[in-house]
């Protein structure tokens, strides 16, 4: 039988980097194939080629036996390829119906045929268990609902091949289970599904077959019945993964305390959150992103002041809370978005290294900058943190994500901080950089710093944290000491259960 989708020898280079190296893979109707690989292994590039966002440098793509012309999303859509991107591609100010209908009728037609479209969408939603109100504005929907809209978009266009890029990153375990049930209905109706993930247990749960990518190459293909998570992990990283060794915590006093703090202006806001960050302890914050982590990080980082409650550092309430004050009080801040908030791309490494501390007497006197001191400092960071770069004067935009993150780490850790706010510190990094960052955080813990680790990767949080809290809709769960809570229970808290009893 002709496979629903067949990729043969797909190759894509960016400059000298080979993102995809002669990758071949096929999916049959009624089958779920997982594409497993580390961040940066080439999964997303491959899917962007398949969907026509990029043009491959070599190789062919066939859908249902027909070759797909390169570089044309329209052709991919017409051939029945539907894609659910990791970052949703919805226009927030438009209705669900508008988003679904966009581009499905000839642009020059006079009528849009909304009534018929709406009826069809409602039928599809019923068949696949994707409840969503077609007339709702997308901006008013939850993340889970938006994902359903994305899937409906593909189904509405009669997709035969459905590609999901890291679909569970934004879901609670329970929402993920609902997604899996939708996918099972889809394959039962004869769709072919490609499921992109780096989470082993999900791959084991949903896929029939797994293709493992590493450094842009397809390094293995196994049926799910004949493999194990350990084997997959080994294939993925090319060696046995050594979990970081964690010494027992030597805890001190409370370094930073949030007492009943609430915020305003976020979605969602914090609601009466109490949190102690204890010296020598890593406090992990689990939860689906978008549940108040942003508000909490802004608050501790000095970008927001509480509208109720107070922040105490070393037992004393803070006054005039600002980023500069936070830095001055010994808070090291590793921001979630290292490209956008962590660094200035067109500035040199030196300029980025002193961004927070330029007014310090080490680097400036009476408003005059001592660039020589700043460069010396940066050169020291480059050596100490193994930052691969052309030198302290190079624009930071040219660095890889891992090296950029190392500069940010060096920038804040060299100031011997009392509190470390690490917001998604390893997202998007390759395995070597991940280990580097995690080891630095553990070192800081051993030195007596209080670390707050915010991550949406449950495995990371459980591995590193001495105490875990869960955030859901701006509320904070009680803390659970290492080893006292399982994934299933964490999932329930992430979905918002438990808070009512606790309150």
């Amino acid at each position: 039988m002709t496979p629903a989708l067949r990729l043969t020898g797909v190759t894509k280079r960016f400059g000298t980097l080979v993102a995809n190296d002669a990758i071949s893979l096929s999916v049959a109707a009624g089958e779920v194939v997982a594409l497993l690989g580390e961040n940066g292994a080439g999964k997303t590039t491959l899917m962007n080629i398949l969907f026509g966002h990029y043009t491959a440098d070599g190789g062919t793509i066939e859908v249902g036996g027909q070759a797909l012309p390169p570089g044309q999303p329209r052709a991919a859509l017409a051939a029945g390829v539907g894609m659910v991107h990791q970052h949703f591609t919805l226009a927030e100010n438009l209705s669900v119906l508008d988003n679904l209908m966009l581009g499905t009728r000839g642009l020059w037609r006079l009528r849009s045929g909304r009534a018929a479209a709406r009826a069809r969408i409602e039928a599809l939603a019923r068949d696949f268990g994707l409840a969503v109100d077609p007339m709702a504005r997308v901006a008013d929907l939850s993340v889970g609902e938006r994902q359903r809209v994305e899937i409906l978009k593909a189904l509405y266009r009669d997709a035969r091949v459905l590609i999901l890029d890291e679909p569970t990153a934004v879901l609670t375990p329970q929402e993920a289970e609902a997604l899996f049930s939708t996918l099972r209905k889809a394959v039962a109706k004869g769709l072919a599904v490609i499921f992109i993930s780096h989470k082993l247990h999900e791959v084991m749960a949903i896929a029939h077959r797994v293709v493992v990518l590493r450094h842009g190459r397809a390094v293995g293909e196994v049926a799910i019945g004949g493999t194990s998570p350990a084997q997959l992990a080994a294939m993925m990283v090319g060696a046995e993964v050594a979990a970081p060794a964690i010494a027992p915590a030597r805890e001190g006093g409370v370094a930073l305390r949030l007492a009943g703090v609430s915020t305003a202006g976020f979605r969602p806001d914090l609601r009466g959150v109490d949190l102690d960050l204890v010296a020598g302890r890593i406090t992990g914050l689990a939860g689906v992103s978008g549940n108040g982590q942003g508000a909490l990080a802004s608050l501790i980082g000095g970008l927001t002041s509480p509208v109720a409650g107070r922040i105490e550092i070393g037992g004393a309430p803070v006054q005039g809370w600002s980023p500069r004050r936070a830095v001055g009080q010994g808070i090291a801040r590793i921001p979630e978005d290292r490209h956008h908030t962590g660094t200035i791309g067109d500035f040199s490494l030196t300029e980025n290294a002193v961004l927070e501390t330029l007014r310090d007497p080490r680097f400036s006197r009476a408003g005059w900058i001592d660039w020589a001191a700043a460069r010396t400092h940066t050169s020291r960071l480059i050596a100490a943190y193994d930052i691969r770069c052309p030198g302290p004067d190079a624009r930071i935009r040219l660095l890889s994500g891992g090296n950029m993150q190392k500069l940010i780490l060096g920038r804040v850790l060299e100031e011997a901080p009392k509190v470390i706010l690490a917001n998604q510190p390893v997202r998007g990094l390759d395995i070597g950089a991940v280990t580097f960052v995690q080891e630095r955080l553990l070192e800081a813990r051993a030195r007596g710093a209080a670390v707050l680790l915010i991550s949406e990767d449950l495995e990371e949080v459980t591995a590193l944290s001495d105490v875990i809290h869960v955030m859901s809709e701006g509320r904070l769960s009680p803390g659970f000491a290492r080893g006292t809570i399982g994934t299933a229970d964490l999932g329930l808290w992430m979905a918002g259960q438990g808070f009512d009893h606790a309150a």
């Binding site: 591609t89 919805l90 988003n99 581009g103 642009l107 849009s112």
Partner: protein, 315 residues
């Protein structure tokens, strides 16, 4: 006070209002189309100059009035094409490119004018559009003469307003334009061309701006002067904001603005006008525009992707 009242009840005020509003309607709708697709077009001022000149010159050269309007439209589209190549394809700063287009279009028009008419001191006149009362409708008291005893170009402005609001609200094309201004990634994911939609909107919108400029030389006046656009383009940008990016509201804003303008011209003739320097009255339109921007700033109707260049494959 009685002066003011006398002005408000005079039919000529309302006739003037519609005449003053007409070029603004064309240009405001043109700018609105660009901005709904996510592109701020600061070339508007210069494109209006180019439309005023090219339309006038076509009529002066004997092409006839309607072909002259078409020439203006085509001229605007040409500058729109240049704008959109730079801002959409190359993703350059919409501020800098827009100002550059304004300078370039203005200078081109002046250069071409001087080339065409090296010797004249007073600008030659053409036979401009005459008023054409719409049978029946123009008989309605006050409203009739104001809205339906105008030149055909004004009726064209009404038509453009109606068509543009219907297209934006009701058709697949309009949906695509709105979506590309909100989130270009949504458009690309549905197989439509972000660049195509944005360039199309900028080119068509620029054509409308130029027709607005040509109204000045083909309908409001009958010759081309330097400086005749005089900031009208910038006012149209304020009107788009004032109209919360909705065609109907923007047109209403143009009428409101024009009513003030018509009234201030008449106020200058009164006792009050004699007491206050005329420059104060001339300032009002600009100050009013700034005020409108401040008042409307709280409304979050701005297209989410306005001024955000889109680069394929980047998120």
């Amino acid at each position: 006070m009685s002066d003011l009242w006398g002005i408000l009840i005079s039919v000529s005020l309302w006739v003037a209002m519609v005449r003053i509003a007409s070029p603004l309607i064309f240009a405001t709708l043109g700018e609105l189309l660009c901005e709904r697709a996510g592109v701020l077009n600061l070339g508007i001022e210069g494109i209006m100059v180019a439309g005023a000149f090219s339309g006038w010159y076509a009529a002066y050269a004997g092409f006839g009035l309607w072909p002259a309007v078409a020439v203006a439209f085509a001229t605007g589209m040409a500058f729109g094409a240049l704008h959109s190549v730079l801002t959409v394809l190359f993703g350059l700063s919409q501020h800098v490119v827009g100002i550059g287009i304004t300078l370039f279009a203005t200078a081109s028009s002046y250069y071409a004018y001087r080339l065409a008419l090296p010797e004249v001191t007073s600008p030659p006149k053409i036979e401009a559009f005459a008023t054409w009362p719409v049978p029946g409708l123009s008989q309605i008291p006050v409203l009739g003469p104001a809205f339906f005893d105008q030149t055909p170009l004004t009726y064209l402005a009404y038509g453009v307003a109606i068509v543009l609001s219907l297209v934006l609200a009701r058709t697949p094309l309009g949906l695509a334009i709105r979506a590309v201004g909100e989130n270009p990634a949504s458009v690309e994911a549905q197989g439509l061309s972000v660049a195509g939609l944005r360039m199309g909107a900028v080119i068509a919108g620029s054509g409308l701006m130029a027709v607005g400029g040509s109204f000045l030389t083909l309908s409001a006046f009958n010759s081309f002067f330097f400086e005749m656009v005089n900031g009208r383009g910038w006012i149209c940008i304020a009107l788009v904001v004032f109209g919360a990016w909705k065609p109907g509201k923007a047109v209403a804003g143009a009428f409101l603005f024009a009513a003030f303008d018509a009234a201030q011209i008449r106020l200058q003739q009164t006792g009050l006008g004699a007491a206050v320097p005329y420059q104060v009255f001339l300032m009002l339109p600009y100050l009013l525009s700034i005020l409108a921007l401040i008042v409307m700033s709280r409304r979050a109707a701005v297209p989410a992707a306005l001024m955000v260049p889109f680069r394929k494959g980047e998120r």
